[in-house]
Amino acid sequence: MKINKIIISFISAAVILLSTSVASFAKVVGDKIVLGAAISLTGKYSSNGVHTQNGYNMAVDRINSMGGVKVGGKTYKFDIIYYDDESNPKRAAQLAERLISQDGVEFMLGPYSSGLTKAIAPVTEKYGVPMVEANGASRSLFTKGYKYLFAVLAPANLYLDVAIDLAVEKNNGKPVTVAMAFEQDAFSQDVRLGVLEAIKRTGSKQVIDDKLPKELNDMAATLVKVKQMKPDVLVVSGHTKGALTAIRQISEMKVDVPMLAMTHCDAAKLSKQHGKNSQYALCASQWHKTLTYKDDFFKDGMTYDADFTKEFGYAPPYQAAESSAALLVFKDAFERANSFDQKKVRDALAATNMQTFYGNIKFASGGQNVDKPMVLFQVMCDDSGKCENKVVAPTKWASAKLIHPIPSWSQR
C-alpha cells in the first residue's frame, strides 16, 4: 500500500511538474505571442525556405513596430520559433510535434512547399492548432476537410487555367490545341488538373500530355513532339528546373509556339539566366508588385518591394510576399477573436475577409483563399536586353498588353 501511495504521488508530482513546465512555455509569454514554424533552411528547398523566413520576419518586425496586436485591451508582440526541417517531410512532421508538445506553441505558420505542408497539417489538426500557411498550394491540402489549416494563396489548380482562357480569347473564342508537360509531383499534377478542366470547359483539345520525371533536365523529346504537332499553347510546370530547362531547350531547338505558359518563372529568375531567350514566356504568379492591393502595414506592392529590397538586398519573390501576408492574417484574426483561445482564433480565421498588399483574403471551407486570382505576367525585354515581368492578365490588373502570338525564332 505504502509503495503504491509513493508511486502515485510521484507520478502526480511528475504530471504537475510537466504540465506547469509546458504552461510556462505556452504561446503567450508576457506580452509575446509565440508562433512556431518549421522552415527549410537547408536541403533542396533552402532558397525558397529562406524567402519564406524573410517574409515572416519582415512582417513580424513591421507589425511589432507599428503597435503590435491588441487583444483584450493589452498589446502583444509577435515572436517566432523556427526549426530547420532540412526539406524533409518526416522531419517537418517531427518538428511540428515538438513545437506543439514541447515548446507549447499554440499557433503555427506554414513551411515551404506543398509536400511539407502536407506532412505538417495532420499534426496541427490533431492538436487543434490553427496554422496559416503561405506556401502549400496543392489542391489535396484543401479536400481533406482540415479545420485548422488556412492558406493565403490560391490553390495549384488555378495557376495556369487562366492561360487557356486567354488563348481561347485570343483565338476569337474558338477552342485551341494544348500541349502539356508536367512534372510528376503533387503540385505540378494539380496544376495539370486545373488546365485539363479549362480545356474541357472551353472545348479545347489536348494534343500532348507528357509527365516529366523528377530528375528532369532534358525535355527534348517533348519539344520535338511540339514541333510536329504545332499546338496553340504549350504549358509547362516542373518547378524551377522545369522552367529553366524549357526555356533553354525551346530556344536551342527553335520551337515556335504561339503561347508558352509556365509556373515558377519568378523563382527561376528566367530573364537573368536566359536573357532575351526567355522573352514572351507567360508566367503564373501569386503576386506581382504592380498589383494595386493595399493595407496599413506595407501600404502596397511597390512599397513592399522597395522595403524588402532594402532590408534583404534582393527583390522579393512572391514566396516572400505571401509569407508576410500570413502574419497580417494572424494579427487580424487575433484582434477579431479578442482572445487566445484556439477555437475562437480558428473561427475568426475562418471568417477572415480582408485586403492585404498581397491581395484579398477570404477562406473557403477547405481553407484555401478564394478571393485572390492568379496573375499572369509576360517576360518583356527592351532592345538593350534588359527584361522585365509585366502583368498581362487578368485584364483588371494588366500593366502591359499581351504579345500574341509569340514571334517565330526566325523573326527574332
Binding site: T42, K44, S46, S87, D210, D218, R248, M253
Partner: protein
C-alpha cells in the same frame, strides 16, 4: 502508348541523334566508373556528385565572365586534385576491404558532397549559357543544339586521349597491371598506392569534364547527381568491366533506347524503361552463364 514516332519518320532520326549525343556523354562518366571499378574494385556512388561539382566549376567561370567551354579544361584539373584528396582521406582505408564497405563509404561521401554543395552554392537550379546556336538538318525537321554536338565531340576527344594514355604511358601501364593483378604488380615494383590515387584522380577529372559539359547542355543542381551515378553504373554493368568499346556502345545504345522509350511509352516511363532493360540484361547474362556452366560440367 504513342506512335507519333512512326507517323513522322523525322522523329526517328531526331530520336537516334539525340540519343547518341546524350549516350556519348553518359559513356564518358561510365568510362571513369569502369576504370576505377576495374582497378580498385570500388563502386563509386559519389560519381554523380563529382559530375555536379565539376559542373559548378564551369558555372562559376561563366558567372565571372569566362566562357563556360573553358571549364572543360579547368574543371578536370581541379577535380583531379579533389579526387586525390578523397582517395587519401577515405578511399585508401577501404580499398582492400569488402565491396559493401566501399559502397557505404562512397555513399557517405555522396551525401556529404550534396550537402556541402547545397551549403556553398545554394539550392537554386543553375546553368551556363554557351550561345553556340543550333544546327538544322533535313529541311529544319531535325534540330540539334550545337552545345550537344560540342559535348559529344569533347567526350570522344577525352576518351581517345585516355585510351592512348593508358596504352602508351608508364602510369597507364602500371594502372593496367594493377587492374590485372594488384599483388603481382606490387611484387614487380609497381607502387599500387600511387596507382590507386592516380586512378581515382583520373576518374574525378573525367567527371569534371562531363560536369562542365552538362552545365552547358542541361542544368546543375546539388541534388541531381544520383541519376548520373545510376546511369553510369548501368552502362558498366551492360558493357562488363574492362570493355571500353563496350562502354561506348552501351552508352549510346542506352541513350537511343531512352529516347525511343520516351516517344513510344511516354516520358514518365523513360527512367523506368532503363531499369527494365537492366533487369532483362542481367537475367539474360545469368541464363547464358548457367548454360556455359552446364556445358563445362
Amino acid at each position: 502508348m504513342d506512335f507519333l514516332v512512326f507517323q513522322y519518320p523525322m522523329i526517328t532520326v531526331q530520336a537516334c541523334l539525340d540519343g547518341i549525343l546524350l549516350g556519348i556523354l553518359f559513356a564518358l562518366i561510365a568510362y571513369g566508373m569502369a576504370l576505377q571499378w576495374g582497378v580498385m574494385n570500388i563502386i563509386n556512388i559519389a560519381q554523380g556528385d563529382l559530375v555536379i561539382l565539376g559542373g559548378y566549376i564551369a558555372y562559376f567561370m561563366y558567372l565571372y565572365g569566362i566562357h563556360p567551354a573553358w571549364g572543360v579544361i579547368v574543371s578536370p584539373i581541379i577535380m583531379y586534385f579533389v579526387g586525390i584528396a578523397i582517395y587519401k582521406l577515405v578511399i585508401n582505408k577501404v580499398v582492400d576491404r569488402d565491396l559493401f564497405i566501399s559502397i557505404l563509404a562512397t555513399f557517405g561521401i555522396s551525401i556529404l558532397f550534396m550537402q556541402l554543395m547545397n551549403f556553398a552554392f545554394g539550392a537554386d537550379v543553375v546553368l551556363a549559357n554557351s550561345h553556340y546556336g543550333t544546327t538544322m538538318l533535313f529541311d529544319n525537321n531535325v534540330v540539334l543544339p550545337n552545345s550537344k554536338i560540342f559535348s559529344a565531340f569533347i567526350s570522344i576527344l577525352f576518351a581517345i586521349c585516355l585510351v592512348i594514355y593508358m596504352k602508351k604511358s608508364k602510369l597507364g601501364r602500371a594502372i593496367r597491371a594493377t587492374a590485372q593483378n594488384a599483388r603481382a604488380a606490387k611484387i614487380l615494383g609497381v607502387d599500387t598506392e600511387k596507382v590507386y590515387a592516380a586512378t581515382f584522380g583520373i576518374n574525378a577529372a573525367l567527371c569534371g569534364v562531363a560536369g562542365a559539359l552538362i552545365s552547358i547542355t542541361f542544368t546543375i543542381h546539388p541534388y541531381m547527381g544520383l541519376p548520373y551515378t545510376i546511369r553510369s553504373f548501368m552502362i558498366v554493368i551492360i558493357a562488363g568491366l574492362g570493355n571500353l568499346p563496350g562502354v561506348a556502345m552501351s552508352g549510346m545504345g542506352l541513350g537511343v533506347f531512352e529516347e525511343f522509350a520516351d516517344y513510344i511509352l511516354g516520358t514518365e516511363f523513360r527512367i523506368g524503361s532503363v531499369f527494365l532493360l537492366l533487369v532483362l540484361i542481367l537475367v539474360y547474362r545469368r541464363f547464358k552463364l548457367s548454360r556455359k556452366r552446364e556445358y563445362l560440367k
